[in-house]
Symmetry: C2
């Protein structure tokens, strides 16, 4: 079945609901993708992910390229079989990690030269080779190599990033197109809008990429340290330019309030390590905001993490037990906390899809912030 995106509901607020069809299942949008960096969402099994409500996960090309290598994963039958996940998979291009994790040696129009953060070995990735790596990994949605810039950066740096990202997006298309069938299922390629916090560059980047008619568009280079106002305004501005009939993916975002605000601005897809990374440190998300499980106040608190949550963890365990697990350094603590927080995120998206269908997003959005302790702009 070819990849498709259909917009099913438009809320007066600008929030939208849709469905992405892949050969590994349907993804209802707005959607959140748990992050499985090294072909595993840390501490959780695919059974857990399904139970928490995930239909698509993200895995990181940079990490898998370095270890265990895409050839091994191809030999295993691809990421789905390797990690025993039969839902959809999106892989990033590795660009962001090359810029943030590796010892970056040289960046040029040809591609990026870097040293592995694991063993120091010299590596080279080009727009063409990152697609080849992702074809070996076997993801349903692949991302083009983009040139990320940090925050803050100059207009000239951001412009260079935009121009090179467009160049690479063209070369990716020329190499094999944006829809590639292999091993009996279709893989599609999404382009990534850059431009830092400069509206004119964001617009230029979006328009150039729209011309290339990719099946989907991501907004990259945000959530890298810029103020929340910039995050929201850039996401909203770019979403306003992108075509209605293509999915819009805001990369690496974010806190629950960020998801709500971005959905209000017409974003369809998210990924973020926050729910699982924070959970491993003992901080979990609830309908009333974050709580820190090691807090002494929970020593004899025999209520669930979130009284409004119906997840396995909230049905079976107390804050006191979870605190004990974290204080005792027990692995079950990070596991149960990760499950809860992912469930919280995935059900937050589920709730947003409901209220969009009911045309009631604006009212719900106000109530969410009131309950959660944030405001409409998402400031805490």
């Amino acid at each position: 079945m070819p990849f498709s995106f259909e917009l099913t509901d438009r809320d007066p607020s600008g929030a939208r609901r849709g469905r992405i069809v892949t050969d590994h299942g349907v993804v209802e949008t707005p959607a959140f993708m748990p992050v499985g960096t090294q072909a595993t969402v840390k501490s959780l099994s695919p059974t857990d992910l399904k139970e928490a409500g995930a239909s698509i996960i993200l895995s990181n090309t940079y990490h898998l390229h370095l270890r265990p290598g895409e050839k091994l994963i191809a030999a295993a039958g691809g990421l789905h079989r390797f990690m025993s996940w039969d839902g959809a998979v999106l892989t990033d291009s590795g660009g962001y990690q090359v810029f943030s994790l590796s010892d970056l040696r040289k960046i040029a129009d040809a591609g990026v030269e870097f040293k592995s953060h694991i063993d120091g070995s010299a590596r080279f990735l080009s727009p063409e080779s990152v697609v080849d790596v992702q074809l070996d990994l076997g993801s349903d949605i692949m991302m083009v190599l983009d040139h990320c810039v940090g925050f803050p950066c100059t207009f000239e740096e951001a412009l260079l990033g935009v121009d090179r990202t467009t160049l690479w997006a063209k070369r990716s298309l020329e190499a094999g197109g944006a829809r590639i069938s292999r091993d009996g299922y279709e893989r599609v390629l999404f382009a990534i809008v850059q431009g830092s916090v400069f509206p004119e560059l964001r617009e230029k980047s979006a328009l150039e990429l729209i011309d290339l008619d990719y099946p989907g568009y991501a907004i990259g280079g945000l959530s890298v340290g810029e103020p929340k106002e910039d995050l929201y305004s850039m996401a909203g501005m770019v979403a306003g330019i992108l075509p209605e009939n293509k999915p819009r993916y805001l990369m690496g975002v974010g806190f629950p309030e960020d998801l709500v605000e971005a959905v209000a601005r017409g974003i369809d897809i998210f990924d973020c390590v926050l729910p699982t990374r924070n959970a491993r440190n003992g901080t979990v998300f609830t309908s009333r905001g974050k709580i820190i499980l090691r807090n002494a106040a929970f020593t004899a608190d025999f209520g669930p993490i979130d009284p409004e949550c119906g997840c396995y963890v909230c049905r079976n365990y107390s804050r006191a037990y979870l605190r004990h697990l974290f204080m005792a350094g027990e692995m079950l603590g990070p596991r149960l906390a990760s499950f809860h927080s992912l469930y919280f995120y995935l059900h937050l998206l589920d709730r947003m899809r409901q209220v969009i269908r009911e045309g009631d997003f604006s009212r719900w959005r106000r109530e969410f912030h009131e309950r959660y302790g944030t405001d409409l702009q998402g400031n805490i």
Copy 2:
């Protein structure tokens, strides 16, 4: 329903099958108890334990007394509710850990003075107080405080341990009896036979404790460094003295071949950290012996851990994937390996119960060793 033990099958070899009934379910024997030291079997949920085939788990009084404390667990409604486990629970007395983990200050007939290995605080446990602690924990089967001696030890040291263990077993009985009903279910107390590797002391210890008519008997002070021959001969000798109609628990044993050999000698219950501790380090048990998952030979081995195993892990994951998880330091590795190895242990016991019922234990025992790579005496 009061605690009961019924012997249902006797194999010509001496192996026996039975059922323990507790207010938290039936435990078919021979049985293996996964160890949940700190009110959690490391990395696994109670749902996993049930799926792996566990009906009873062990938890450690020493650890729980120090953290989070038995009063907190009592306030939570007992261990079953605290950790969300509705099967049976056995708690040890803490004696073994006081002797092996703590900074032991003084041991006398009154009890043991020690310093916590967590915060250095001064503590005192007596035969009476360890029962009180276990009543707060809410276990179905409690253990008396015993005086453990290390290996090797002199005859005199072992004799002192036996005499004090008998004295404490008497005092435990005088304090509250061996069957105590509280919170709507019955808790029973087992005595522990000591005597190191001295047959005459083992006999003396067993006979003195049999006189006290406890509902069950454990064999302690083994698996502490003595040769395998001593382990097997002491276990067999003591089992031969203990009453037919009471369950026999061999504490802290052992490797799969040890379980087979001990069942052949009439043992009913086991506990051991080996399957889970080894799994966390990447060593798992299979029907053909142990394998080390980090081994480079498994890099591209897309078969299951054990082709003869039907567990969730063997049905869904390859050795190559598990190796990747361990090489990448991913928490899912220890979790999946622990699940597999516990399943292997619990199904080994299940198989033994089957062949005992069929009166075919001796033939099966030979075949087990042949397949597993050990010999009848259990030497590797």
